[in-house]
């Protein structure tokens, strides 16, 4: 049986960690614990975390995934870091709006815009 690729790919851009989801089903409940653990490890590695999540490939999102994102946001806030979400498809963005989480997260239309926002 072939091994599955890791659910996340991490890119370094200066002091910003950019996280890409590698699979459009990645935010199914089954994968959320693994993704959350990986994000927590990234956050723990950085003194003042700057983390960007690129949602380009994400077609599905559950409330459990939202909880995982909130947990990451809370941990980054505790370390005076910055957290950005980018490239969220309209259907997925609607989930953030319905839950009012578009008010909690800094959401940007593009990765480039999100990267620039870390200088704000």
């Amino acid at each position: 049986m072939s091994e599955q690729a890791p659910p996340l790919a991490v890119i370094q851009d200066k002091d910003i960690r950019i996280v890409e989801f590698t699979n459009n089903k990645i935010l199914d409940e089954a994968n959320i614990a693994e993704i959350g653990s990986t994000l927590n490890s990234l956050i723990d590695e950085m003194a003042n975390p700057k983390l960007l999540l690129d949602f380009m490939t994400v077609d599905h999102l559950s409330s459990a995934a939202l909880g995982m994102l909130i947990n990451a946001n809370n941990r980054i806030k505790q370390k005076n870091g910055k957290f950005r979400l980018a490239n969220i498809k309209p259907q997925i963005l609607e989930v953030f709006k319905i839950t009012k989480l578009d008010k909690l997260f800094r959401i940007h239309n593009s990765r480039e815009e999100a990267v620039r926002s870390f200088s704000d």
Partner: protein, 135 residues
């Protein structure tokens, strides 16, 4: 009519979800409706397994799905103690935004045309009509 009975287990719930979504695909629901059903179905199943039955393998979840090209009607029932919907905090209030859980019911009601809880909260019946919501 699809009928399932399974122990309180996430993997079993995923199998049921897949079977129902395959039927939704066969009935050619439009993209937005398929998205809505997938989301609400996952929330309903997780609620039954995790919050209803507390992942107790001795407790079952029963699911029925009647899917036609016109609509999908799904019933999910757990064997837990039940709950009062009126006692579930509103997750969209500012004081609740940073809480990691509590959004499942909100999403089910937002994405399905009908969502009703009976039998003390143990039974969820939801309906999604296959219409183009962009028009």
């Amino acid at each position: 009519m699809l009928k399932f009975t399974f122990k309180s287990d996430y993997a079993a719930a995923r199998e049921v979800q897949k079977a129902i979504l395959d039927e939704v695909d066969r009935c050619q629901f439009n993209g937005q409706c398929s998205f809505s059903i997938k989301l609400a179905l996952e929330e309903g199943l997780i609620n039954a397994v995790k919050h209803g039955n507390k992942l107790d393998p001795a407790k079952n979840v029963r699911v029925e799905a009647h899917v036609t090209p016109e609509q999908a009607e799904i019933v999910i029932e757990d064997e837990g103690p039940g709950f009062k919907k009126t006692e579930v905090p509103d997750p969209t209030l500012e004081e609740n935004l940073e809480k990691c859980s509590g959004r499942g019911i909100l999403l089910i009601e937002a994405y399905m045309d009908v969502a009703e809880w009976t039998n003390g909260g143990r039974r969820l019946r939801m309906i999604k009509k296959n219409v183009d919501e962009s028009k």
